[in-house]
Structure formats: C-alpha cells, structure tokens
C-alpha cells in the first residue's frame, strides 16, 4: 500500500475561504502513486471544494500544493493538468455539441500530448497502451458504440463515463473522481467501482474518489479520508475509519459502525 514513495501530490494546510465561510480548513494530505483513496463526509464538508483546490480550479486562500516536487499553488488548472492531475465534475460537463469521440480527442490534443519517438512521427513516448488513442479510450470506458453521437444525445450515466474518458485522455497520473456513482443503481455502482479499480490497476494511476455511496466505496478503496465542516477528521483504512468515534458522530448514524453483509439493507434504508 503506502510505501515510502515520493508523493505524487502534496496538499499542505490547504484552506479555502469564501468571504466569511470557510469551506476547506487546513487540510493536509499526501498521495503516492498507485493509491486508491476515497474521500467521504457529510454534505457541505468541503469535498468538492478540496477537489477544486487540488486541481487548480480554485485558488486556495492559504496553504501549498506540490505536484512531483513542483509548487503549483495558485497556478491555473492547465498547469495541474500538465502535471498529470485530471478530474471529473459532479454534473458531467461534456462538450455538448461535439461528437463523443471529439470530446475524448480534446484532452488528447492538449494535456494528453506526449513527445513522439522521432519528434514528428512514431508512437508517443510513455503512454499506457490502453490510452493510446481515442478509440482505445472509448473501448476502455465502454462507449465505442456511441462514438459519433453528439455528446448531448447520450444518457446521463453515459455522460458520466464520457467525463471519465475525457479525464483519461489527458494521460494523467492522478485521477480525481467527483461522485461518479451518484444516482446509479446498486449494480451500476458496483460496475463503476470495478471499472475504477481496473483503471487504477491497468493504467498505474492514483485515484481519489469522492462518493456518497459510502458503503460501496469503503469496500473498494484502500484508504479513506473523512472531511467534516472543512476539516480532515480521519485518514486511515476503511476498517479503522468506520470505528472512529468522531466519524460516527459526524454522520450521526450507525450505518457506519458495521460494514458487513447487512450493509446492503442499511444502504437502502439510508
């Protein structure tokens, strides 16, 4: 799991303040290559704002963000993308008028560009086989059949897959997934979780995953960060996190107490 590898992304004491409201309060976390991390927390805990901070979309009020040893604090999202940070948005933001395949090609042409072996031709250097071109990415996420359709014409859950595909097209090292399972059925969530697992394994990615479907997430990730009212209240394995009294109190529920076979009934009741 977390060997003492050089961190891919370090967040040092990141604080994001909007006027009088503190959305993210001094959160520090390091992410090493190959991790599968989940971020959970009640509504308003600052999860998406934290994502916005570590992807460059939101400039933190204070704190530092370092990727691969480069200080990226305050730089724009395109710098983060250039350093391998890719993200999806909670509501899928695809380019509605362009065909699905063009949406994927967009990322390939910008942050996804890599040097070619012989400068202007030859295969691209350092690119995972599964991400070699738009067609391979489409088959990875399962949207090959919809390639020529305009992005506005596919279903919302397909759009969510497209979101992931667009992020993958930038050939990232770190993939930030923001509630990609929201509104999906039980089995769809399982499928999504398996896809995420596969992506991490096959593409050598680090995946950070925000999710409300807490029980499913806890089953698949190796490390969980819990945010509550902007602060990090836990950063541990799923097993330990669900026994953390602060976490239990934050969620005000005992659905967290025993992640077992009963969890499915409990999730339905939630």
């Amino acid at each position: 799991m977390s060997e003492q590898a050089t961190p891919l992304l370090e967040a040092h004491n990141v604080t994001v303040r909007f006027g009088g409201l503190v959305a993210v309060d001094g959160v520090s976390a390091n992410f090493v290559p190959g991790e599968l991390v989940g971020i959970i927390g009640p509504n308003g805990a600052g999860k998406t704002t934290f994502f916005n901070a570590i992807s460059g979309v939101q400039v933190p009020t204070s704190g530092r963000l370092i990727a691969h040893g480069h200080n990226l604090t305050g730089r724009g999202p395109h710098r983060f993308a250039a350093h391998g940070v890719a993200r999806t948005f909670q509501t899928p933001r695809v380019f509605a008028d362009m065909p699905v395949v063009a949406n994927i090609e967009f990322g390939l042409k910008f942050a996804g560009q890599r040097r070619r072996k012989y400068v202007f031709w030859g295969d691209e250097v350092d690119v995972p086989w599964a991400l070699r071109d738009a067609a391979s990415i489409l088959s990875l996420i399962g949207l090959s059949a919809q390639a020529e359709l305009p992005a506005a014409a596919i279903t919302p859950s397909q759009q969510r897959l497209l979101e992931i595909g667009m992020a993958l097209a930038t050939r990232p090292k770190l993939l930030l997934l923001d509630e990609v399972a929201a509104g999906l059925t039980e089995s769809e969530i399982e499928e999504m979780a398996r896809l995420i697992r596969r992506l991490r394994d096959e593409l050598d990615l680090t995946v950070i995953w925000i999710e409300h479907a807490v029980t499913t997430l806890l089953r698949h990730v190796e490390r969980v960060i819990v945010l509550h009212q902007g602060r990090k209240i836990a950063d541990d394995t799923p097993h330990n996190v669900v026994r953390n009294p602060e976490v239990i109190e934050a969620y005000l529920g005992d659905e967290m107490a025993e992640p077992s076979a009963d969890s499915e009934e409990e999730e339905v009741a939630a």
Binding site: V57, H78, G107
Partner: protein
C-alpha cells in the same frame, strides 16, 4: 464530404472570390469599386472578429479602437515609412494595445467583457482627443501622402483574403479547437490542458491585427481624420451586427452578410441612411430571436420549423379565443379537487 474535401472546397471558393474581386476595378464603375472596397473592409473585419468572438463567445466591441489606432498610425507615419511598412506597424500597434487590454479584461465573462471593451474604446478615443488637443495642439490630422486608388484596393483585398484564409485554416488547428473549447465550457477546457488566458489574448490580438491593418489602409480614403471619425463606435457595431446576422460560427456567413450589407449601405446611404440602419437593427433582433446561427445556418428544415411553429401558435390562439383552453383548465381543476377527496 470529408474534411479534406471541405478544405479544398473552401480554398477554391476563396480563390474564385479573390479572382473576381481582383478583376473588378478593370471593368466596373468607380461607384461599384468604392462599394466593393467597403465590402472588402467589412469582410476582413467580420471574418477576423468571428474567428475569435464567434467560437469563444466573448463579444468584443473594441474593433473601432483598433481601427482608429491603425488609422492614426498611417496619419503619423506614412511618408516617413513606406506603404506596406506603415500598414504592418499599424497592425502591430493595435496588437500591442490588444495584448494589454486583453490581459486586463479577458478574465471576465460575456456581458462584462463586452461593456468593458466598449468602455476602453471610448477611453482610447477620449485619450487621443485630449492628447492631440493639449500636447500637439491639433484637432485632427491631414493626410498628405496618398497612394493610388488601385494600391488601396489591392491592399484591402489582400487583408480580406488573408482574414478568410486564416478563418479556414484556424478552425482545423489545435488553436481553433482550443477556441471552441473555451466557448463551449471554458473551465472544462482548462482542466483538459488549455491555457485559456494565452489563447484568448492571442485570439483577441488577431482581431486587433486585422482591424488595425484595415484602419491603416482605409485612413487614406479620408484626407482629414479626427478621433471621432476613426474611433467611431459604429464601425465596431456594424462589424458585430454583420457577423451575427451572417452567422457567427460559420466561415462564409460573415462574408455573405458583408456583401449584402455593403450593397444595402451604399444604395440607401444617400437617400435613406436611417432606413438602412433601422433594417440592420430589425434584422439583428429577428436573427437573435429566431435564427441564432445567422443567415448561414438557414436550411430547409429551418423554414419548415418556422412554418410548424407559426401553425401551432395560430392553433393555440384559436383554442384560447374559443374558450376551449379555459374549459380544459376548469376540467383539470375539477379533477384535481375530486382526487383530493379520495
């Protein structure tokens, strides 16, 4: 037709157009040539404006500022420098101003940006007026070195062809894709690796370069220029109107509209200038409301759509007038009330 065939078609049309425009002065009357000159000027202005503002949806009203900067460059430098050099310097000065302006205001969205570019245009005009009055003691400038009519025509033609050619090529490059991405969802494009700030400034600078070049070339048509004439916001307004009515995302829309409006403008200008402007305004309103893609997006389907829309509207009106709508509403209300008692 695949994209390579489109490219060939576009280039061929451009070639035909330029050939025709080139041959025009040898057989047409002076009036027609003068009309063609205005037309070419607006082709250049609207094509370059549409290139940036069409895809990114940042409506720039700064065209008049760049035009005026080009014009003043000619007024000040022609004579000391050659014709081509002066035009280039004019374009260059406009680009410098655009980069400064763009760096300051391009982070604001749509309406703010439009209003700001308008404000900056007025600011530049008043600054030049003030400077001329107090520092150099003049109100306007007289142009003494005037090249031949043919030279002016040829220059503007070259600028117009360049603008259209650039439009044709840019939309096939990464730069053009970045512009479209910015217009579709700027933040998303950023997270996919587009340096939107730089791209926007570059696009803005392109509109400035062409407007400056055109201004520098057209200045010699007036023997006397003053800030109110060359920084006249109307030039910018007309550019915007023409491009929007023609079809801001299309290649040939602005060109088509420029031709139509130059013809209209010249024929109506002497007797009914207000009717020309009124029709411009009316056409813009109609286009924005019913044809947002502009004239170039007219297809058979659009006409059919309008026909069915107006038929539906007439049917609805009949229903309302005959009281049927009211009766349906009452029936629905009664049913709702009944369901509450269940």
């Amino acid at each position: 037709m695949n994209s390579r065939q489109f490219l060939i078609r576009d280039l061929l049309v451009l070639l035909a157009f330029s050939g025709w425009a080139l041959a025009l002065p040898s057989y047409a009357s002076e009036f027609v040539v003068s009309m063609a000159l205005t037309c070419l000027m607006y082709v250049a202005l609207s094509s370059s404006w549409g290139l940036f503002c069409g895809s990114t949806r940042y409506l720039s009203l700064a065209t008049s500022a760049f035009f005026g900067i080009g014009a003043y460059t000619t007024a000040l430098l022609l004579g000391q420098f050659g014709w081509v050099e002066t035009i280039t310097i004019g374009a260059g000065m406009a680009v410098v101003v655009a980069v400064v302006m763009g760096a300051a205001v391009l982070h604001l969205r749509g309406t703010y940006f439009a209003v700001l570019t308008f404000g900056m245009t007025e600011l530049i005009m008043h600054a030049v007026t003030y400077f001329e009055k107090t520092v150099t003691g003049t109100v306007g400038r007289v142009l003494t070195v005037i090249p031949e009519n043919n030279v002016i025509y040829l220059t503007v033609l070259v600028i117009a062809v360049l603008a259209v050619a650039l439009s044709i090529t840019v939309r096939r490059t990464r730069f053009g894709l970045a512009l479209m991405g910015i217009g579709a969802d700027e933040q998303r494009a950023q997270t996919l690796g587009v340096n939107t700030r730089l791209i926007k400034i570059a696009g803005f600078a392109i509109t400035a370069a062409f407007a400056g070049a055109v201004g520098a070339a057209m200045a010699v048509r007036w023997t006397y220029i003053d800030p109110h004439a060359v920084f006249n916001p109307f030039i910018g307004f007309q550019t915007v109107l023409i491009t929007l009515i023609g079809g801001v995302l299309t290649l040939w829309g602005p060109l088509l509209a420029a031709i139509i409006f130059s013809v209209l403008a010249e024929s109506l200008r002497l007797q009914f200038p207000q009717i020309y402007l009124m029709s411009l305004g009316l056409l813009l309103i109609l286009c924005v409301l019913y044809l947002p893609g502009g004239l170039a997006s007219l297809r058979w389907a659009t006409f059919k759509g309008w026909w069915t829309d107006s038929r539906d509207w007439a049917k609805d009106l009949k229903r309302e007038l005959s009281g049927e709508k009211e009766r349906d509403k009452q029936r629905l209300k009664r049913r709702e009330k009944e369901s509450h008692f269940v």
